[in-house]
Symmetry: C2
Subunit: 329 residues, 2 copies
Amino acid sequence: MADIDKKSDILVGVDFGGTKILSGVFTPKLELVGTVKISTKAHRSVDAVIDRIARCVRDAIDECDLNLKQLKAVGVGAPGAVDSGEGVVINGPNIGWENVPLKKELEKRLEVPVFVDNDCNACTIGVHEVELGGQARDLVGVFLGTGIGAGLIFNGKMYSGYNRTAGEIGHMIIRAEGKSDKDNPAETFEELASRTAIFRRIKQAVKDGKKTLLTETLGEELDNLRSGDLRKAIRKGDKLVEGIVEQAAVYAGIGLANVINLLNPEVIVVGGGLIEALENTMFDLIEKNARKFALPGVAKGIKIIPSKLGDKAGIYGAGVIASRGIKSA
Amino acid sequence: MADIDKKSDILVGVDFGGTKILSGVFTPKLELVGTVKISTKAHRSVDAVIDRIARCVRDAIDECDLNLKQLKAVGVGAPGAVDSGEGVVINGPNIGWENVPLKKELEKRLEVPVFVDNDCNACTIGVHEVELGGQARDLVGVFLGTGIGAGLIFNGKMYSGYNRTAGEIGHMIIRAEGKSDKDNPAETFEELASRTAIFRRIKQAVKDGKKTLLTETLGEELDNLRSGDLRKAIRKGDKLVEGIVEQAAVYAGIGLANVINLLNPEVIVVGGGLIEALENTMFDLIEKNARKFALPGVAKGIKIIPSKLGDKAGIYGAGVIASRGIKSA
C-alpha cells in the first residue's frame, strides 16, 4: 500500500453488500493507502446503514492517519439496480432497499461529492481500469462468491440495460430439465457454481455419509464453513471437496462459454471470493471448459483471466468511479 | 409494395444463406418495391456464388421494371463472421467461406458501393430501423429458424464483439446434464428450440409409434416437412405436433429469460421462419416463459414482441445498411 502525506488529496472507494462494508483510501493516482471493514447490519433501518457507510469512510481515513479535509470524493459500489446518474439504489433485494437516494444522503453526511454504481459494475470497472489499464474494448467480469454476478463493458463503456440490472448472470439457466416442461424445474449458474452451491453439496454429501476432512475441524454440521477451509482440505488431499469444487468449475466454464458465444468479448475476467480462495483448483478447469463449450473459432484470441484484485476489486472500482466523477463534474 | 418511376434512385438489400439468396429493391425511403429469390448453390465455387448474388440483384431490379443505372448501393447480410468495415466474410461455416472479400467482388460486378454485415445483424437492423423506427436504445433480435441466431444493438449501435461473432445465441447451453460432469453432455438453445429440433422430435415420435396427421400427407419418413405443415396440423387438432412445438416454445422462453437476466435490453424482438409460420402457437408461450424464468423486477417494462417483417427482416436490414453506407461515405 502507498504512502501519502497529510496535505495530499484522497479518494475513498466503498464496496458494500448484505454482510460487510469495505472502504479503501486511495491517492489521486488510485494507489491504495489503507482499508477498513465493518459489518453492514442490513437488518437495521436504511438511515442506520447509510450512517455506517459514512462511518466506514471516516474510519478508513483515520486508520491511514489522514484527515477528512483531504477527502475529495467518494465512490460506492452498492448491491442491486442502481441509477448511477442520480446515485439512487432503485432496488436492492439483498438489503431490502428501494429507491434509496444514497448519493444525496452520503453527501449530506460527508460533505463531498459521492458517486454510486452497482457493486458488480464497480468490480468490473476496477479490473478494467486498474488491472488492464482500460485497454479492453469489450470486457465481461464474472464474480463468483456467495452468489454470481457480472459486469459488462461494451465499446469501453459500462453497460447497464433498461432497468439498470444487466449482468444478472447468476440467474442464467444452464440446466433446464426437460421432463415436464410446463412447470420446468431449472437450475441457474448460481445454483450450480457459487460458493453457496458448493457448500450445499458438501453438507448434503456429509449427511449422505461421505467422508471429508472438514468435519474433523468444523464438526458434522459444518456450521462455520468458509472458502479458505475448502482450499486447506484440498491441499491435504480431500477428494470429496476437490470433486465438488471441480464440478462447480465445470459449470462455471459452461456459464463462461455462454458468454463467449453470445457476447464474444475481448476479455473475460473471473474474480470474486471463491476464485480468490480456490484459483489453483478452479481456474484452469473453468477456462478449459469455457473453451470446450464455446463454438470453435468464436473463442479464438479471447483472453480468460483471473482477477488479481480479489475482494478488493470493488473498492478499486469505486475509487475509479470517484475519480471519474470529479473529473467529469 | 411501393410504386417507383424509372428515374428514381434505388437501393437493393440482399439476404443470403446456405440455401437461398433473397434480393429486395427499395426506394431511398426504404419502401420495398419488389423481391427475387434464387437458390445459393453453396456447393459451387465462391466466385460462382458471388456471381449468383450479383445476378439476383440484377434480376430483382429487372423484375421491378427498373434499370441498373438507378441503383445507388447494395447492402448484404451474409452468414458467419463478417468484418463490416472491410466487407469481408471472415468465416462462414454454413457456406464454407473463409476471408472472402465480398464487398470488393460485388463492387467489381455491380459497379456501385456495396456494404456487408452479418445476416442476423442485418435482420436486427431491419427490425430496429423499419419496425421500431430506431427508437429502442438496447435491442436483442432473436431469430428462430433452421438454427437460432441473434443480433445485438447496444446504445443504438450494432455490437459484434472481438471476432465479430457476437450473437451466437443458438449455441448457448441451457440444458447441461450434471450426471457425469467431466464429459458433460449439454444441449444448446438451438438443439432444443429450432425448427431442426422440432422436426427431429416429431420424426423420432413417429418412429416410436406416435400418431400425427403429418404422416397422412407426407408419409412415414416426413421427408419434405416444412414449418407450414406444422401450422396446418396444429390447426386440425394434431396434439403430438402441438405438444412438441409448445415444448420448443418453453425452451425458447428460457433462452430469452437468459438474455433478459444478462443483458436487460429494452426490447427483445423474436423473428425468423419458425415464428413467421407458428407465431400463434409459439409466441405467447415464449413470452410467458421468458417472464417466468427472468428475475422478478428485471423483466419489468421490457418489451418482447414478434417481428412483423418475417423472412423479409434480412433484406430490409440490408436496405438500411446500403442507405447508411452511402450516407456515411
